[in-house]
Amino acid sequence: MSEPIIRYYGPKAYADHPPFSYPDYRSTVKRSPTHDLIRIVQTLSETTGPGPAWTEISEEDTDLTTNTGTGSPAIGERIIVTGRVLDENGRGVPGTVLEIWQPNASGRYSHWRETEFPAPLDPNFVGVGQCLTDAEGGYRFTTIKPGPYPWGNHPNAWRPCHIHFSILGPSFGMRLVTQMYFPGDPLIPLDPIFNSAPPHARSRMIATYDHEVTEANWALGYRWDIVLRGELATPMDEGGD
């Protein structure tokens, strides 16, 4: 019987991530662990994951401006969001599933739970997309720039414009759900969810405007790379004089 391949992954860098409890974001207070996490040695159960098995992705889901199937385009500022999924060693993560969701140009989610915000729905925009990263870890979506929207965390609270990103990655431990923000958004410094990340790591969540990505007479371009945990260097890699 062949031995399984065990790739050990570097730790989740908790110092680069938000704390579990961040009282400025009120709902975290009762939904966070209070015991310390228990450190375990990685086994095949941790080093494998569902990402690689998930290969049925339809190409049309990379264009959120047309993927409702109504035949009419969504309303709003058309944008391109592209970048790479990398591990922390700087290697592209190929063939991994990216799933995104967002509100429409008015800041309205096409979701039954959104009942408070009187912004219009767009019948031609659902706000969901997915893709597999290419051989270099690259991804590219065409969508509508999401609008800001109010939420109930504190008086006159507004979320900055953002797109939710979910990445399964090659191992279960690399699972990441995060949010991509837009440069220059005045709501960013006021947002407790954005600010929950430690100050040195916050800018990693903000896309860069990239005129090279912008397509003439079509759409503005933003670039955003996502960095996941990576394989630990082997003892041989660490060596050298």
Partner: protein, 190 residues
Amino acid sequence: MSELLGQTPSQTVGPYYTLRLFREGENILVPPGHPGRIVVQGIVLDGDRRPIEDALLEIWQANSVGRYRHPDDVRDLALDDGFTGFGRAITDFETGVYRFETIKPGLVPDAEGAFQAPHISLIVQGRGMLNPVFTRIYFSDEDEANRDDLILRGLPAIRRGTLIAELVENGVYRFDVLFQGDDETVFFDF
């Protein structure tokens, strides 16, 4: 050693993640009548023991002979047609109850060359959670294997039980996820 790139910070899935991260049937890994089918269900509770009505649970497991559907699991064990080992469930908006229909996984190796007790890996996320939590579901009718399991043995005895799904009726296990308090579910870092 070269400088590592900084990890992108985790953020909450928020209240609207079901737009993308859950679709009907993703909690059902095997069809009704499948040999060895089990149900794993339970409730997710916050620090005040109120149901968390918008949690997302993701499971990852080996098949009945202990093989993961993953390129690193090159062991000479059969894969099952159509069984990915991955599932997603959401908690009921009123009750906080979730449900998976799956199979009990077989044995997979531990870090010392022995076998682990049968277990399912679980990630829980939700509105109000800035990071996912990682835990494991073990089974109450695997006493002997549980006693020998390297990871269970490494836990304080008083907390071990939080990872054991209780067989409540034929083929139905109950596994609750609790945040905070003395009976908080064990969450892992690895």
